[in-house]
Every structure is written in structure tokens, then in C-alpha cells.
């Protein structure tokens, strides 16, 4: 049962500092606010998606100190001092010929139809970048195993695996 009276200071917000995509954000947050909710609702970084909100689907995948994590299960207050990267921070900054640039894996997802509805795509790409960076893209079976924390209900898996493989073969990952 949920106790009727919360702890005295439970609902009090506290000042926290988050470093997201190399920018520093200062805000007041309750301890119960997840990193995902803060990113989406407070910092207007809505690329990370809320799918299951229970760490099962991977749509909220971000990098924390260079490693993938489910932002829906992280408390924002605990992420201070850590380097957080979201899908918004993946592509190189600046424009080429007036066009915003894509990260090589983002471009590969477009080329290989690594999506249908696109809702899971930010999480898929954040995991895919880590799979490539950590050396887990040596075979389609390897890619599938190390991408297992990201679910695509449209079933674009064939395109997702092809996109990751293509970047691996082109060796263009940043």
C-alpha cells in the first residue's frame, strides 16, 4: 500500500546540473523525475522516446559516459556529473551546403530502410552506435544479439541490421 504521508522533504525540488550533448543545464527537479522525463518535458529534447517506460523496449536509449542506458530507469538527480548524449547530440554540428549533417548511422538507417513508423529509431541508432563503437558488429548474429535491448514493433529489423553492417563495412563511424 502507498503510505498516505510522504516523507517531509520528498516533494521538494532540488537544484541539479545536467550535462547533455555538451551543454550544461541547470534546473530544479524532484528526486522521482527520471532522466527521460527531464529530457523530454523540461529540456525539450524529445528525440529520446517513451515506449514502455520500464526498460524493456529501448526507445529511450541514451549514452551515459559513453555507454548505452535506458533513460526511463535513471533518476535525473543521480546523473549529475555524467556526460549524457541523446540522439540530438549525435550528428556533427554545423551545416554542409546549407544542409544539416547526419551521423553515418543515421544516414545508413535512411538508406537501408531501418525504420517504418520511426518511433523506436532514436533508441535503435543510439544502441547501434554503441554496437559499432564497442566492436559487436562482426556478423549479423552478433548485431542482433547486441541490439536485443531495442524492440521494433514495425519489424524493420532486417533494415536495422543492414544499416549497422553497412557502417561497419564502410568503417565511417565517428
Amino acid at each position: 500500500m502507498i503510505p498516505a504521508e510522504p516523507a517531509v522533504d520528498a516533494t521538494q525540488k532540488q537544484a541539479i546540473t545536467l550535462k547533455v550533448n555538451k551543454k550544461t543545464y541547470r534546473l530544479d527537479a524532484e528526486p522521482r523525475e527520471t532522466l527521460l522525463d527531464v529530457l523530454r518535458e523540461r529540456l525539450d529534447l524529445t528525440g529520446s522516446k517513451k515506449g514502455c517506460d520500464h526498460g524493456q523496449c529501448g526507445a529511450c536509449t541514451v549514452h551515459v559516459d559513453g555507454r548505452t542506458a535506458n533513460a526511463c530507469l535513471l533518476l535525473a538527480v543521480m546523473q549529475q556529473g555524467r556526460e549524457i548524449t541523446t540522439i540530438e547530440g549525435l550528428a556533427p554540428a554545423g551545416k554542409t551546403n546549407g544542409q544539416e549533417q547526419l551521423h553515418p548511422l543515421q544516414a545508413a538507417f535512411v538508406k537501408h530502410d531501418g525504420l517504418q513508423c520511426g518511433y523506436c529509431t532514436p533508441g535503435q541508432i543510439m544502441s547501434g552506435v554503441a554496437v559499432l563503437r564497442d566492436g559487436h558488429a562482426d556478423s549479423p548474429a552478433d548485431i542482433r544479439e547486441w541490439m536485443s535491448g531495442n524492440i521494433c514493433r514495425c519489424g524493420a529489423y532486417a533494415g536495422i541490421v543492414a544499416a549497422i553492417e553497412s557502417v561497419k563495412k564502410g568503417d565511417t563511424i565517428g
Binding site: M1, I2, P3, P6, A7, V8, D9, A10, T11, Q12, Q14, E30, P31, R32, T34, D53, H54, G55, G58, T61, V64, R67, T68, A69, N70, L73, L74, L75, V77, M78, S127, A130, V131, R144, E145, W146, S148, G149, N150
Partner: protein, 335 residues
């Protein structure tokens, strides 16, 4: 999620003190299980004590084996060269568990303490003796809350060591490997430090299924020790599940075998997915010593390990599945 207050600990002693300072406090490190349970209102702490900054993440040689800090991440332990060389069974089991994201977040201590659970434990509209214990255990007027799984849909549930109160299984792959590796859990608390052998760390449900482990209130896990076996041997973690990856085990086997000229010199067999805790019977392992490493020996051992298995309506298949999985795992490590 219910509101709660938050405190950050910088030393183990402070963490223990902070936890004891307010009732309904809980430690949080990786948070992969706790935050999830809080979202379902299964866990409702008033205060979280953040232990993620404690200096307890080292993996280092100790007494011929390894000492793994409680805050070492599951992914770091699986990728650690010392672990892969000396205890590949642990690396194999860790990589069979959860997803890459969760393994990056989850700590070793947290994995030990992930709740033994089932779908009915998660569903607050269902009765569950583990989530909501009956009042006044030991009292003549004691009334159990009930169990939705007994008489419910119980395909994933326990076949060994269960009780009238609870038939949930411990979902950890790591715990099964630790059981086969004779790990020792190091804890510290208000009354000092103690060492708990892994087989005594997790509990069978009995009439108090709310307690998954023997850890006392306010005790903090600091490390997991892996002693080096007197002799080496081969090991394997075999996990049988409904899909190829990212699913709990229906049945799993952590097997370790030392053979010489086709004869068994030492054996360890721990089972996952079948009980409230990793299932290991040293007495059965002892009967294997001196016998030939053949399918007949393995089948006899498997049947002895599963003696007394009690299936429920939907999980009788686990008995044969476990027997076959044990034989397969032992064949793998004896070949």
C-alpha cells in the same frame, strides 16, 4: 511514482547510517529493478540512499581468486580480462542476462538483490504474499494474502523448493553462475561485517516469501568473492528461453566439471528458473565424483537434482526440460 526524498552517500559507513536514519529507506545504485518496481507501486520507499558514488567498483585478485566490488557494472565484469580468464562461467552468465543497456546500468550487488518475482508480484491488482505479506506472521490469527500464481497462469514458475505461499523464481543468470562458483557475499552493517556463502544468501519462500535473501535491514553488500577452485575444469552456462535473447530463463544450468581420463573429479551444477533461489545440491555433485563422464552418469545426477520436483498446472514441461538441459550442459563441459 510516489514522492521520496534522496540522499547521496560517499562512504559505506555513511550509507548504512543514512539508511538506518529513516524507516522505509532503500539503497539505490543501478536502479534497474528498483525504479521499475517503484513505477508499478510495488516498492514505495520514502527515501532513497544513492550508493552509486561509493568506491566499491574494483575487480581485483584476492586470495588466489577475485574480489568483485558490489558496484562493478554487470557489463564491466563480463568484459573484464581477469573474470574471463579465471571465471568464464560468470562472464557467460552475465552476458546471457538482460539487455546491453541494462547490463551497463546494473551492478553486481543489485543483481544479487533483484527481486525473486513473477507477473503476479508486479500486478498490484492481484494477491501476492511476497508483495503484500499477510499480517502478523506467527500470530494465530495470521492470514496469508494469497498467491495469484497458484491456480493462475504459472508456466514460468518454480518446480522446486516452492511453498504454499509463493512459487516465484529468481530471475538472475548471474546468481546461478555464482552458485556454481562457490561465491561468498561480503556485507557490512550497523553490527559490523560478515561473509555469506552464496548458497545461504538467497532463501526459499517458506511462509515468509517477502524475504528473498538473508540480508538484514541496513546491511550493505560491499563485494563478491570468487575463490579459485582447487582444480580448474571446464564450465558452461546453458540458458533455455522463449526467444533467442533478452528473456528470462525457463530453465538454465551453470555447470562446471573437472575430468581426468574420462572420470569425474569435481562437479558443480546450479539451476536457474526452477526455484526461489539458484538450485544446487552438493550431495548430488559428490555422488558424481569417481564416476565416468557419460550420459548415464549425467542423467542419474540430473534426476537426483530434480527429485521432488512439484509442477503446477502449466509448468510440468520444466522437469524434462531441466533434465535434458543438465545433461546437455554436462556433455558440453566434458567433451
Amino acid at each position: 511514482m510516489k514522492s521520496f526524498s534522496y540522499a547521496q552517500a560517499t562512504k559505506p559507513a555513511d550509507a548504512v547510517q543514512l539508511l538506518g536514519a529513516q524507516p522505509q529507506s532503500k539503497f539505490i545504485a543501478g536502479g534497474t529493478n528498483l525504479v521499475d518496481l517503484m513505477k508499478y507501486a510495488v516498492e514505495n520507499p520514502d527515501r532513497l540512499v544513492d550508493i552509486s558514488h561509493l568506491d566499491l567498483a574494483k575487480i581485483e585478485p584476492a586470495n588466489g581468486g577475485l574480489r568483485i566490488g558490489a558496484l562493478a557494472r554487470n557489463s564491466d565484469v563480463a568484459a573484464n580480462a581477469l573474470v574471463q580468464k579465471q571465471f568464464p562461467l560468470l562472464a557467460e552468465a552475465l552476458l546471457a542476462g538482460a539487455s546491453p543497456q541494462l547490463r551497463n546500468m546494473a551492478t553486481m550487488g543489485g543483481n544479487l538483490l533483484q527481486r525473486t518475482r513473477c507477473n503476479y508480484f508486479y500486478d498490484v491488482s492481484q494477491p501476492c504474499n511476497k508483495r503484500t505479506p499477510g499480517r502478523d506472521a506467527g500470530d494465530a490469527a495470521f492470514r496469508p494474502t494469497g498467491c495469484g500464481a497458484i491456480g493462475g497462469y504459472n508456466r514460468i514458475h518454480a518446480i522446486l523448493g516452492s511453498s504454499e505461499s509463493c512459487i516465484a523464481t529468481n530471475p538472475s543468470d548471474m546468481n546461478v553462475a555464482l552458485a556454481a562458483l562457490d561465491a561468498v557475499v561480503q556485507v557490512t552493517g550497523p553490527n559490523g561485517s560478515r561473509s555469506i556463502p552464496i548458497l545461504e544468501f538467497h532463501r526459499l519462500p517458506g511462509t515468509t516469501p517477502q524475504r528473498d535473501t538473508v540480508l538484514e535491514d541496513n546491511e550493505l553488500i560491499t563485494a563478491i568473492d570468487l575463490p579459485t577452485s582447487a582444480v580448474g575444469g571446464k564450465s558452461h552456462y546453458l540458458k533455455v528461453r522463449d526467444r533467442a535473447s533478452y528473456a528470462f530463463a525457463l530453465v538454465s544450468v551453470a555447470a562446471r566439471l573437472v575430468t581426468q581420463n574420462g572420470m569425474i573429479r569435481e562437479a558443480r551444477i546450479a539451476l536457474g528458473g526452477v526455484a526461489h533461489k539458484p538450485w544446487r545440491l552438493p550431495v548430488v555433485e559428490q555422488t558424481m565424483v569417481g564416476k565416468p563422464a557419460t550420459e548415464a552418469t549425467f542423467r542419474t545426477a540430473a534426476q537426483a537434482l530434480l527429485a521432488g520436483a512439484k509442477p503446477h498446472e502449466h509448468n510440468a514441461f520444466k522437469i524434462q526440460l531441466a533434465e535434458n538441459a543438465i545433461i546437455r550442459a554436462l556433455q558440453t563441459v566434458s567433451s
